[in-house]
Structures are given as structure tokens and as C-alpha cells.
Amino acid sequence: MLNVNELSVRIGRVDILKPVSFELTTGQSLALLGRNGAGKSTLVKGLAGLVKAKGDIQLEGVSLNDMTQKERSRIIGYVAQDFSSSNVRLSVFELLLLAQNSQNMQLRASPESLVLAQEMLNMLGLAHLSERMLNEMSGGQRQMVALALALIRKPRLLLLDEPTSALDLANQLQLLQTVRDYTQEQNITTLMVLHDLNLAHRFADQTMILESGKVSAFGDTHEVLTAEQIANSYGVHCEVFIGSDGSRSIHPLSAI
């Protein structure tokens, strides 16, 4: 269980994130939605400890506030929005070793890290990119690598900031399905910032919509993503279709 109590972030004189409280059961995925500048990335960074945040965060009964960044990094996996702009000249396999050995004070990579790197490449279908340098890859391939780097540290809380922004349709579905399966199989908690409401419908158990740093809606995805709520939060008229299997799809019609 993830318990977030009155989490807020102030940068300079601006309250980017006003006190936010929510709970999320382990094994569930939460989609963070909202217009640009609503505070979605800041909330994720606050949870990751990348920006100074006030408030209490408890993960599986343990307070993250009392942890050092080093301790927090052992249980949190984070995929940054701008990771794809990194021009690092390390191969994917080297990056996977680096993600596991970053605290290693020995020159030799741990033998387990070699095995795990191979397993992760296989699991995400990235084995053919193993020797490829990050700066020789497409934006979408980099996002897949970024996910691999987060998962290989076996996080208990997975934070994804726009993980599908550079992916083609097939890879969007593959990545989010992987995340969903991993979240359920490993019984971890996942938060992902998304812009595509249909993807949120399909892959998120819970959805939170932020507006100007405040929560405007939070709950089960199919209850939150209604035509009325979307009109309120996004200023867009839309229709929500319910398929015969219960799946939902959103068709935007016009801006209000």
C-alpha cells in the first residue's frame, strides 16, 4: 500500500503541488492525468525524492521521509520524461550493469548483475539492442531501455513520467502491458504520467486528474474518466463508448 499524506512541493515562491493525499493498493497502477503544468511530473519527482517535498509518504508501512536518497533509490524505480534526450555513450548492456552496480565500490561487476541484465533484455525483447549505444537509438527504443533500467533494480514503487511519449502504437501497448503485468506479478505499486486517456482507460486501475497542482478527481479509472469530468478537466467535449467486453474508448469531439 502506498499512502501519500499532504504531499506538497514549492519551487521558489510558487506552489507547484498543493497538498495532495491518496492511497494506492499494491499490485495496482495509477494513471496521473491533467493538462500541461498541472503538477504531474512534480508529484512523481516528489515521490522519487528528486525535488524537495513536504508531507508524509509511506510505502508498505515504511516511511520514505526517514530514508536517505540512497535507501529510497533501492525501492523506487523512476523513468524520467527527458531520459530519451540523454546522449550517453554506453551500450544498453553496460547501462543495465551500471543501474545495478552504481553503489558498488569494487571494480568488478557482480556476477548476478550480468545474469539479471540478460534476463531483463530478454523479458523486454531488447536483446538485439544489447550492444547498441543509447545515442544510436530511436526515442522509442530509449524509452524501452529506460523502463529496463528502472525494472532491473526490482523496485517496490515504479514511477513513470510519460513513458510512452516517443513510442509507436504497438510499442505503447507493449510497454504498458509489460508494466501492468510486472506490477501485478511482483505485487508492486505503479504511478504513470499519461496524456492518452484511452491508454489510461486500458492500463490503469486508478486514475488521478490534477489541475493547477490540486487533485480534481481520483478513483477507479472508469469512474473518473467520464465525459463530464473530461469536459471539466480538459475543456474538451467527448463521447465515451463502452464495448461489448466492457472496455471503454474516448472520442474527443471539440474544445469547449
Binding site: 535507501e71 524505480g77 550517453v88 553503489q103 523479458m123 536483446a127
Partner: protein, 356 residues
């Protein structure tokens, strides 16, 4: 989604990686041997006419050598050669660290004004006979003053930047400002200096190995022996910093603290070496790039290779400085610049054409 069973048939990446590690280690050994050969050649070269077998005998059997050979080999050539190796190692690794801290491939040990600060520290002693450490013996005043000025300058920039939370770009700008301040003061010192003082100062600024002493060798060796093992132990963290920048925090790395530590080490190495031999450019810029081209970005290999390449370039420059004009030993800084400029131009243009 691909499954394990679907990808089992593909080449195991771990095996390829292990082969790559072996290739890198082999390259490191090859370059180490090349450096040892260059060191021996440097010892055999000199302004005098000592036959090579006599010189070699003087090195390996000092008790059997004549007093003259003993003095030439052990008091004159050996400190110069060892200083070349140590300063090559120190400047190369200082450059590599500065490139990491400033996240800029064109950074070098002197980017934050070490050269002009050290130059001003030297000018105070040469021109104004003033030193911050006037209690020291006269022989050490120049070196100590240059060392203190350069070290304090970079540490001031580092601490100021950390306190104010300056970005990397702002740190570079601050370094440029500090560089211009000390350059102006250095110019003032040169303006008021008499001919002898001006000659001493200009010669010091050019960089020279020839005044190396065993004491200076000892000081530089101690600094390198203290700093290098720590850097090697931090190899993974430095790789993460180079690879992920600020985002290395999510791997549990205290980015600000690591940057400050690396900046301190870079300043310590560059200051000690500059104070000893004067301003020697391009080693700190070129050696890390050559090393990365040979063994890649993994700092476990890149740092070792950077040190070896630095020592090799410096030793080869020392040989060239003695051999280029018979009977004349050119300032080492001039030689490294002449050798380094073509590489620097290639680096800049190659980069703009996307070949790096």
C-alpha cells in the same frame, strides 16, 4: 511482449560483454607497455652524449655507475622522467574529472582559471617577492604559492556554486570571470616586472620539466597515490554521473556531493602539477578523449586508460622536446600544445560533423 523462450536463441549479451571487457583490458596492458617503453626511451634521451648502454647501466646498476653517470641519470634525468609520467597522469585525470563535473567534453583542468591563478601566484613570488607562505624555504615559495592560489581559486568556485546552487553553465562562466581577473593581474605583474623577472615568469608559464626535483616528485606522487585509488573505487558512480547527470540521484548517488568531491580532486591534481612544472596544456583535454575512444565510457576502464594515455603523451612530448632541436630542450608546454592543437581541431570539427 517477447518472452524468455522467444529470445533464448539470440546471442547471449553477457558473453559479448565479457569479450569486450577482455579487449579493453588487453588494450590497457598494451598501452601500459608502450608507456614503459616511452619512459625508458625518455631516460636514454638527454642533452648530453651519454651512450644508451651506459645510461641503462646507470639506471639498473646505479652502484656500478661512475659518479658522473649516477648524477646524470638519478639526479637529472630520473626526476624529469618521473615528473613527466606523474604530471601526465595527474593532468589527464584532472581533465577527465573536469569534463565530468562540467558535463562538457571540451573542459580541461584549466577551464576554471587554475592556470592564470597559478601564474599570478608565481608572479607574486618572482616579481614582488611576496608569498602567502613566506615561512617556507625559498626554494619552495614559488611552487607553494602557485599551488595555493590555484587550489583556493577552484575550491572557492566549487563552494560558491554549491552554496548558490549554480548550474554547470554558471560555474563555467564564473571560472571564465576568475580567469580574466587573474589574467589581468598577471598582465599587471608582467608590466611592472624587470627583464629578468619577466623572463623567469614567461618561462615558468610555458611549463618545463627540467627543474623537477625529487621533493616535487614525492609531493606529486603522494597526491596521485591518495587520489587515484579513491577515483577507481568511485568508477561506477562516476560512470553514472556521466551517463545520467542529475538523474543519477535515482540510483542513490548524491550528485552534488560527488561533483564537489571530483572538482576538489581535479583541482588538487592540476594545482600540484601546475605549481611544479608550470602550465602544460592539452594533455588534460586530449588524453580523456583518446582513452574513451579506445575503451569507451565505462570509467573502470576509461580512468585507467586516461592515466596511461596521459603519461604516454607527456613522456613522448618530453622525448620530442629533447630531440626536436639537438642540444636544446624546448619547454614541454609548447610541445604538448603543438601536438595537441591538431587533435583539438579534429575534435571540434569532428564533433560538429557528428563523428564523435
Amino acid at each position: 511482449m517477447n518472452t524468455v523462450s522467444q529470445t533464448l536463441g539470440q546471442a547471449p549479451s553477457a558473453h559479448v560483454y565479457k569479450n569486450d571487457v577482455r579487449r579493453k583490458l588487453l588494450l590497457i596492458v598494451v598501452f601500459f607497455i608502450l608507456t614503459v617503453l616511452a619512459v625508458i626511451t625518455d631516460l636514454l634521451c638527454g642533452s648530453g652524449t651519454l651512450p644508451w648502454h651506459v645510461a641503462l647501466n646507470g639506471v639498473f646498476h646505479p652502484d656500478q655507475a661512475s659518479p658522473m653517470v649516477h648524477v646524470v641519470m638519478w639526479d637529472l634525468r630520473m626526476p624529469v622522467t618521473i615528473t613527466a609520467v606523474l604530471s601526465g597522469i595527474g593532468l589527464a585525470i584532472a581533465g577527465s574529472l573536469m569534463q565530468t563535473v562540467l558535463d562538457n567534453p571540451l573542459a580541461e583542468p584549466f577551464t576554471l582559471g587554475i592556470s592564470s591563478a597559478a601564474g599570478f601566484g608565481a608572479a607574486l613570488v618572482i616579481v614582488f617577492q611576496t608569498s602567502l607562505v613566506s615561512f617556507l624555504p625559498v626554494d619552495y615559495l614559488l611552487t607553494a604559492n602557485a599551488f595555493i592560489f590555484s587550489l583556493v581559486t577552484v575550491l572557492f568556485i566549487g563552494i560558491f556554486a554549491a552554496r548558490k546552487g549554480l548550474s554547470v553553465e554558471m560555474i563555467v562562466m564564473l571560472g571564465i570571470a576568475v580567469h580574466f581577473i587573474f589574467s589581468a593581474l598577471l598582465g599587471l605583474a608582467q608590466y611592472v616586472a624587470n627583464v629578468d623577472q619577466l623572463q623567469s615568469l614567461v618561462f615558468w608559464m610555458m611549463g618545463s620539466l627540467q627543474k623537477s626535483t625529487w621533493t616535487q616528485v614525492g609531493i606529486n606522487a603522494v597526491i596521485i597515490v591518495l587520489v587515484v585509488p579513491i577515483l577507481l573505487l568511485l568508477s561506477w558512480q562516476i560512470s553514472a554521473l556521466r551517463g545520467f547527470g542529475e538523474q543519477a540521484q535515482v540510483l542513490g548517488i548524491s550528485v552534488a556531493r560527488l561533483r564537489m568531491l571530483l572538482l576538489t580532486f581535479s583541482a588538487l591534481l592540476a594545482s600540484a602539477i601546475t605549481a611544479t612544472i608550470g602550465v602544460v596544456g592539452f594533455i588534460g583535454l586530449v588524453a580523456p578523449h583518446v582513452a574513451r575512444m579506445l575503451v569507451g565510457e565505462d570509467q573502470r576502464f576509461a580512468q585507467l586508460m586516461t592515466m596511461i594515455v596521459g603519461a604516454l603523451i607527456m613522456t613522448l612530448s618530453s622525448i620530442v622536446s629533447k630531440m626536436l632541436i639537438p642540444g636544446v630542450i624546448l619547454p614541454i608546454g609548447m610541445v604538448t600544445s603543438l601536438l595537441g592543437v591538431p587533435f583539438f581541431v579534429w575534435l571540434v570539427f569532428g564533433r560538429s560533423m557528428g563523428r564523435r
